[in-house]
Symmetry: C2
Subunit: 323 residues, 2 copies
């Protein structure tokens, strides 16, 4: 089922129309969408709909809107992060230039709304309001993320709030938007939203772990977060538990401007291992995962089983991403 | 009446809610909106509504959406143009930084949709589709504008198409959106759209003239377009009519990287004067203005007179902006 849904997204993404000109505006949109990805968010939208309505294709415009929106945020975040690569390919601002990436991103956000407006629902205003709220939260999350880079310390609570805004709420919205299109009631929509948010929290924390412990880096350098002094939960937990000598070392690496990246990554990783932060973060992931699973179990009674299974499988896949 | 409408916009802009945090996301939105401006577009939206419905305030959310959208484009365009000032005040990317200007602009575009969704109309999907089309056209116009900077020559037709997209269609949309909210029929909406587009063309060409011939520059350096080699209609008409020696001089100034800005502006201006391009562009402005007036006259029979007069006055004000 998941493959069918993913394939449906891929095919549908191809059908979004773009004018031929100006090429510098529309070509980058096609480019970033062609870089692939797991399409988790739009698949969640289709699942949200399929849980309640056998015509899960109804959620296609909303699903495409979400994927367009997500890729718009990637295009602009890559400028802000000065990222040269995305999925081992040059980022848009790298392949074209920053102005092109700014403006194409803007157009992509409008294209997202263009899709959303095509959603077959009597609750369009409601759907749009939910989307707007979510979109602003994602912007807030990105702003906090940038603000945190300038700060010496970030609390666990602040970090969790940031990733909730930047990553998790969009997964919650995806499930909820699909459910809304599928005719779910308000309580069901809210339940799915919470499920998606918990899934998103687990997803992002898993991503943080992968950055440090992945065996293969797919277009991403291992330890990128460490090199960039990102205040991930790993670092926050490590700082809190470090003894005096470990704390000194962490401070040293956080405040040294000229360094050998490999040396920095290896030393920080050794401290992480000595403290055992991996287990602590894994425990946190399991907790979010468990919450999502519990919510999922309440769906079994009144939702369509094929789609409950699909959601279950997607949730499992998250945890077995290669660490 | 125009003052009432403008005042209503100023007051309503103050009521748009923004969260307190993150400050770097929302403060720049308040800042750019506080820089003022003539609020022509939102006033046009209120007029469009008032032409058909005595409750012209109904168009307030749409009007605010348009002003938010317009200022979002200014915030991002200023990054792309590396503009240090807007209305004699530092631009957002100058006062904060580029990342803040990118992300605040993004949030501002979402805030525009947030307003638009609050429009009291049964035709929300239609209104949103029109807005999306217009927003993409504005992006296209900005992209063409940037593309033209890299090109040696631009035709009159290409230039007019560019300013139609970048500037004129938003004025057309503003009038039309108001009319839609006010209950106007499709034909009336389209008539008002054309009126607004013609008004926008006259407006932009007048702006091009002001750049060269304004006696006072309000926060803008006189001749900025000349210094930046902008292919305005003035330059295009001058190139076409220049004799061999004038053409040589124009080419020289277009292709010289190190120059004294005053000398460049003065020399190019002398060529413009010798050829008489000011009169040619003024004639073009009059033609667009005349088209707008003709459309306006057809409204008299069935539209509310106070608002016909308000529109008439706004149109007149355009032509008597100080050159």
């Amino acid at each position: 089922m998941l493959d069918t849904l993913r394939q449906h997204i891929e095919t549908s993404l191809q059908t979004i129309p773009y004018p031929e000109a100006p090429a510098n505006l529309y070509e980058p949109i096609r480019y970033i969408l062609s870089l692939g990805g797991k399409r988790i968010r739009p698949v969640l939208a289709l699942i949200g709909c399929g849980l309640f309505d056998e015509q899960w294709e109804k959620a296609t415009p909303a699903a495409l809107a979400i994927e367009l929106f997500h890729n718009f945020t990637l295009m602009h975040d890559d400028i802000m992060d000065k990222a040269p690569l995305r999925r081992s390919k040059p980022t848009v601002h790298q392949r074209w230039n920053e102005n092109v990436a700014i403006l194409s991103g803007d157009a992509m956000l409008v294209k997202a709304y263009e899709q959303l407006v095509q959603t077959p629902t009597t609750e369009l205003a409601h759907l749009l309001s939910l989307f707007n709220t979510c979109a602003l939260q994602v912007c807030e999350g990105q702003q906090y993320d940038m603000d945190f880079e300038q700060r010496a310390a970030v609390s666990r609570q602040e970090y969790l709030k940031m990733i909730r805004l930047k990553t998790a709420v969009l997964l919650g919205f995806s499930l909820r938007a699909g459910a809304l299109v599928g005719g779910a009631g308000l309580a069901e929509q809210q339940g799915l939203y919470e499920l998606g948010v918990n899934m998103g929290m687990a997803f992002q924390l898993q991503d943080d772990l992968l950055d440090v412990y992945a065996e293969e880096a797919f277009g991403k350098r291992i330890g990128g977060d460490i090199v960039a002094n990102k205040k991930t939960l790993l670092l926050i937990e490590a700082m809190e538990r470090a003894d005096e000598s470990q704390q000194k070392q962490l401070f040293f690496w956080l405040n040294t401007e000229n360094f050998d990246p490999n040396e920095k990554v290896n030393t920080v990783k050794e401290i992480y291992d000595a403290i055992g932060v991996r287990l602590i973060v894994e425990e946190q992931i399991r907790r979010y995962h468990h919450k999502a699973e519990k919510a999922l179990n309440t769906l079994r009674a009144h939702c369509r089983p094929t789609f409950v299974s699909a959601l279950e499988q997607l949730l499992q896949n998250l945890l077995i991403r290669k660490v």
